[in-house]
């Protein structure tokens, strides 16, 4: 019998929920990565029936509408309810047919024409056709700022034209080469036209009808959700093995905030899948494995966990030398192996290594304490008697507002201290956090954002797209111009070589200009009971329940 260590762990993404620069929170996800207990080797014959009991850590946004929600756990639920025009292969990042059987794109990425699958219905019996696609895209675009992700996914959206019931054309005013990937996300999932007659608030609260393998029976924010299967489902993407109705009768979702409790519920058989946000610690993984549970991991593509600078006014980071020194003072390999575990991947770029067009910028992110010290000396910050650096009697202090602080933050604080930088971990409530970041009252602020396309960086750093503090406060005019130009280049063409060049340039600029300081890669780590078979992550590292069956 297992005995999970009693431990209260920090709840780090707490911050993420209410932030104005909510860009931070958004975990999309996708693209190939390891899965150390993959079910691909499962040869047993699936059995239909049973209810899958799934426990997430929290539901702070309290919204279930796929078009509006950015909260990753809600999107895992949405993936079972709502289908998208396309799907993305988790291993290759390739876009494959789903509700659209084929598509064409013009050269400058302003026009996308989709051929739609026939015979698809929503769970209320309505037929899925070109008009439904138009209704959904128009309504998602109309959500404006209410759909944090939709805003960037549909950047430059002009209109959708119904050609005939099975052909639809989506037009953009400005190029949006990332749109095709966007059609594979839950954010641009196509809901039944009737859904869009509800208010955005009602949709958030659960008034949504999709064409997925499951239907949403009820959803109570932060408490529970119940899904039942659609017996007549027959249109999954080619990435799903089970081409018919789901094996599971139902899915029961609960939210358990305490890590030790959630893990204990799993090892004592009261839930089937434990799905936290923060990677399950090495010690907990050992305990769970000893109890027979398996661990599934997948790197979340998109923006790595990064700290973003505030270079405005007379703040210390307004000096490029200090930003370069900070970049060198962070020991990333030690961070990964200490905060997580020995072979945890080390961050290599502002985007996760699993994101298409990610480059390996390890050399720019190398730990170089002497180099950092030399740069700070050069910038006029001299070491004082207490080991910290001073200039004109002022201490080199960097203020980082957080809602909770954990081992990783303290490790970073210690690493920076070696270079004479005083990192202040300013723990505040979520409300104060919103206030402070919006007012630019910080030197560094943590950010992450998941989407399997490098254009995701634009939502956080491109001043032409967002007025978020992470974009506005982190760059001078010249850098901002260079960054916006790269983003525009990346979206203007569907030619992969040109996109790759633009995004490679962008990743370098973000590091060398000290806009952002990558800290660690984010892994989705989920623990699965031995009676669960056919577990699969989507490209976005969400749950895909179509193939799951339970040992009876």
């Amino acid at each position: 019998m297992s005995f999970t260590p009693l431990r209260l762990k920090r709840r780090w993404a707490l911050a993420a929920s209410v932030v104005t620069i909510a860009a931070l929170t958004v975990l999309t996800g996708c693209s190939g990565s390891s899965s150390d207990a993959s079910s691909t080797g499962d040869t047993a014959t699936p059995v239909a029936g049973g209810t899958l009991k799934l426990a997430f850590w929290d539901d702070q946004q309290g919204c279930i509408d796929p078009n509006q929600v950015y909260w990753i756990e809600s999107r895992s639920i949405d993936r079972q309810i709502a289908d998208s025009l396309t799907d993305q292969d988790p291993d290759t990042g390739k876009i494959v047919p789903w509700l659209a059987t084929s598509w064409t794109t013009n050269d400058n990425a302003t026009q996308f024409t989709f051929t739609l699958r026939d015979g698809v219905t929503f769970s209320d019996g309505e037929k899925f056709d070109a008009t439904a696609v138009k209704t959904a895209l128009d309504a998602t675009y109309a959500l404006g700022a209410k759909s944090l992700l939709g805003v960037s996914y549909l950047a430059g959206y002009d209109s959708t034209t119904v050609i005939d019931p099975t052909h639809v054309q989506v037009n953009f005013k400005t190029p949006n080469a990332a749109f095709l990937q966007a059609t594979s996300t839950t954010t641009l999932a196509i809901l039944a036209p009737k859904t869009y007659q509800e208010t955005p608030e009602a949709r958030c609260a659960g008034a949504i009808i999709g064409s997925g393998a499951f239907t949403l029976d009820n959803y109570t924010a932060a408490t529970s959700a119940h899904l039942t299967k659609r017996a007549d489902y027959a249109w999954p993407s080619s990435l799903v093995k089970n081409q018919g109705a789901a094996y599971l009768d139902a899915i029961d979702v609960t939210y358990i905030k305490e890590d030790s409790v959630r893990n204990g519920e799993l090892s004592s058989g009261q839930i089937d899948i434990a799905w936290p946000r923060l990677p399950i610690s090495d010690a907990d993984q050992q305990v769970l494995k000893a109890a027979g549970d398996t661990i599934e991991t997948r790197a979340l593509p998109g923006i790595s966990y990064v700290l973003t600078s505030n270079i405005t006014g007379n703040k210390p980071l307004s000096d490029p030398l200090v930003r370069q020194a900070l970049q060198k003072a962070i020991d990333r390999p030690t961070y990964a192996s200490t905060v997580f575990w020995a072979d945890y991947p080390v961050v290599k770029s502002p985007v996760e290594s699993t994101t298409p067009f990610a480059t390996d910028e390890s050399s720019l992110l190398a730990f170089d304490l002497d180099g950092a010290k030399a740069l700070l000396d050069q910038a006029g910050w001299a070491v004082g008697p207490d080991g910290y650096r001073y200039k004109n009697g002022q201490k080199l202090t960097l203020d980082e507002p957080l809602t909770t602080s954990g081992a990783g933050d303290q490790l970073l604080q210690d690493q920076l201290k070696q270079a004479g930088i005083d990192l202040t971990l300013d723990v505040v409530t979520t409300a104060q956090y919103t206030q402070k970041t919006a007012a630019g009252d910080y030197d560094l602020v943590g950010t992450y954002y998941t989407r399997a396309d490098p254009s995701v960086l634009g939502s956080v750093f491109d001043q032409a797209l967002t007025k978020a503090p992470t974009a506005v406060n982190s760059q001078d005019a010249a850098t901002a111009q260079a960054i916006s130009a790269d983003f525009a280049k990346g979206l203007q063409t569907t030619d992969d070589t040109q996109r790759a060049a633009a995004y490679a340039d962008l990743q370098k600029t973000l590091i060398t200009a000290g806009v952002t300081f990558p800290l660690y890669e984010r892994l989705q780590v989920s623990a699965i009971s031995p009676k669960v078979h056919g577990f699969a992550f989507t490209s976005e590292a969400f749950l895909r329940a179509n193939d799951i069956w339970l040992e009876q």
């Binding site: 109570t220 932060a222 967002t466």
Partner: protein, 317 residues
């Protein structure tokens, strides 16, 4: 005499409620955040993307463009008439939220208090009644241990042993009476311990009183003396304490509901404070104050029944 006593107590209760409301209003009003900004952030809307016109209309919609005193009296009037407004972070009426969350917390609170009374009175009575020296000492030391145990630790320990190891009770959730057992025990322990501590002391004092000597001399049995004579007199301090502890149920529920993943008022309070969801926090604070006031009012009204000297003695001011 009794009527005067009651009206005085009721008036006091109303004053306390009004003060609780006003203090909360002032504290929340002084917080440095802008409710409209929080409102937008909660709906994940970037405030920089909202036009000044929209901001103004939002402020108007929530009455935030009016002078403070107008806001205060409008809200006070709404409150008195049962309109608690709308939650900023959850976009639903506060009454609806409270309605969803209250039953769970009430059930938990009631079972925890019942258990605390049984445990507290039981321990105290046994400690006093016991004749074996070591048992007496052990029982009278028990409350100190109970008071010193951190509740969240007890909660996690209960989960480990009774939910994960023995699998007798569920560790989380709010499904049926069996899910009440563990959180009730966790909440009852500190309350029971305090109760037992006070009751043991006053029972011991009461047993030294001359009327007990008289009762003994009359040849009454130990249990009759303890229960009929001593207990009634010793119960008063414990009753006062019980009133205070009952009022604190809501505070304890914050920890219990977090550890046991129950979606009750305590959990709602914690979330709302973090998100500075002013209408919800205000409603919960006033509700907690109301609970406190009502419980203590009831206890004040019970006093004279236990000890008529309270009414006939000095006047209540």
């Amino acid at each position: 005499m009794y009527a005067r006593y009651v009206s005085g107590r009721v008036l006091q209760a109303v004053l306390v409620l009004w003060a609780a409301y006003t203090v909360t209003f002032i504290v929340l009003y002084l917080l440095p955040s802008d409710p409209v900004q929080l409102l937008l952030a909660a709906g994940n809307v970037d405030v920089t993307q909202v036009s000044p016109d929209q901001l103004a209309s939002l402020k108007h919609q929530y009455g935030l463009d009016q002078p403070v005193y107008v806001q205060y009296f409008t809200q006070l009037f709404n409150f008195v008439t049962g309109n608690f407004g709308e939650s900023i972070s959850k976009n639903v009426p506060v009454t609806q939220l409270l309605g969803q969350r209250l039953p769970s917390t009430l059930a938990l609170g009631a079972s925890a208090v019942a258990l605390a009374i049984v445990l507290g009175v039981g321990t105290a009575s046994l400690a006093v009644f016991a004749r074996v020296k070591w048992l007496k000492v052990a029982l009278s030391r028990l409350p100190s241990i109970g008071v010193s145990l951190p509740p969240f630790f007890v909660g996690l320990l209960l989960i480990q042993v009774f939910a994960f190891q023995l699998r007798w009770f569920p560790a989380t959730g709010d499904k049926g009476p069996q899910s009440l057992v563990l959180p009730s025990i966790m909440m009852a322990i500190p309350t029971a311990a305090l109760l037992a501590q006070v009751l043991t002391r006053s029972l011991e004092d009461a047993l030294d009183e001359p009327y007990v000597v008289t009762a003994r001399a009359k040849g009454l049995s130990r249990s009759v003396i303890q229960w009929k004579h001593a207990f009634r007199n010793a119960a008063l301090p414990a009753l006062t304490l019980l009133g205070l502890l009952l009022g604190a149920t809501l505070t304890e529920a914050v920890v219990a509901e977090t550890v046991f993943t129950r979606n009750g008022i305590g959990e709602l309070a914690q979330e709302s404070v973090l998100a500075q969801d002013i209408p919800v926090v205000q409603a919960i604070v006033v509700m907690a104050a109301a609970l406190f006031v009502v419980v203590n009012l009831v206890i004040d009204l019970i006093y004279p029944l236990l000890d008529p000297r309270i009414v006939h003695g000095q006047r209540v001011t």
